[in-house]
Symmetry: C2
Subunit: 198 residues, 2 copies
């Protein structure tokens, strides 16, 4: 196989990248200076070589514990539970959350053989029981069927721990268009309506 | 900089990939087995290390001349002139062309300082004059303003060579919708209309 075909095939394995886009990316790189291409190769290799995961929160990290878990400025009283490490990235970008995280590694999905033991739920209860100062657990699993099921399951498991358990709000996305929203979202936005202050 | 941020930044440099997609790609790789990630790194490095260009046609190649130029089954009497090596890939996929190629390396664009000397036009006339058996030159530059200007310029330059010069057909794209086509394309499709055989 030629180097061009090989790279195109590798690019096409990435999510959301079809054969046409993969080819375009390969040819784009061919037009770049060699150093640019080598830099990308090294960055990919770097992820393979340097990134592991934090044994406390489950986030990807180059150190264990990770930078977030070690940060003394983070509030250890609030723990945000997410499905994937990717979600942490998204929440961090809002700058609105200063607590710690816990990555489940997915959601409950019995049909795919993903039960509680396949997720980092045991690690979560352990973390809450072992003398940490967590007062509130924010369940930030996805607003999907599986995310809701997982959230409900977590509420049951965490109830005996005696911490406050909250769920992120579901409703119309900011900047969205009510007319184009799906009916489940609209129903949710209606039932979760809040009093407007004068 | 962390390995994750580094790779995200490199991905974001690729065309059509914004910060959000770059992050998604990085986290996708983080979830893959190490071998998969290393394979992508090697494929990128392979393009940097192994690919050069064909001195005859200007296509990217791991040998010089390239496989296409060396292929005895290709018809050396027809030469297809394209702007970019990427275009060869697209034409080859049709399986409709069995001649040889010539890559210009872009199109005329005086505002960007791209004149005839910046393109492989001299190499083209040289190729046609030096005892090759080319009988027809198909000008397959893009159906854009710049592609048309380049095509017209080539016609002028190639006229003295005494070969047949043709231009790929412009018209409605197959599978397209006349009602949604732009007026320039429709006008072109009308003026280039052909007799229907009974």
């Amino acid at each position: 196989v030629s180097a061009i075909d090989e790279l195109t095939a590798e690019f096409a394995k990435l999510p959301g990248i079809g054969r046409k886009t993969a080819t375009r990316l390969t040819y784009h790189l061919l037009k770049q200076p060699r150093a640019t291409v080598v830099q990308l190769a090294r960055a990919v290799q770097g992820v393979a070589d340097r990134v592991g995961s934090c044994s406390a929160c489950g986030n990807y990290s180059e150190s264990d514990p990770c930078v977030l878990c070690l940060d003394p400025k983070r509030d250890p009283r609030v723990l945000c539970v997410v499905e994937e490490a990717f979600d942490i990235e998204a929440i961090e970008q809002t700058g609105e959350f200063r607590g710690l995280y816990h990555v489940l590694g997915g959601h409950l999905s019995p049909l795919d053989g993903i039960g509680p033991d396949e997720l980092r739920i045991g690690a979560l209860t352990e973390r809450l029981n072992n003398g940490t100062r967590v007062e509130e657990v924010i369940v930030a699993t996805n607003p999907s069927m599986e995310g809701e099921v997982t959230a409900t399951y977590l509420r049951g498991v965490l109830a005996p721990v005696g911490v406050r358990i909250t769920r992120i709000a579901l409703g119309l996305p900011v900047g969205g268009d009510l007319g184009y929203a799906d009916k489940v979202t609209i129903a949710q936005a209606l039932s979760a309506r809040r009093e407007m202050s004068a």
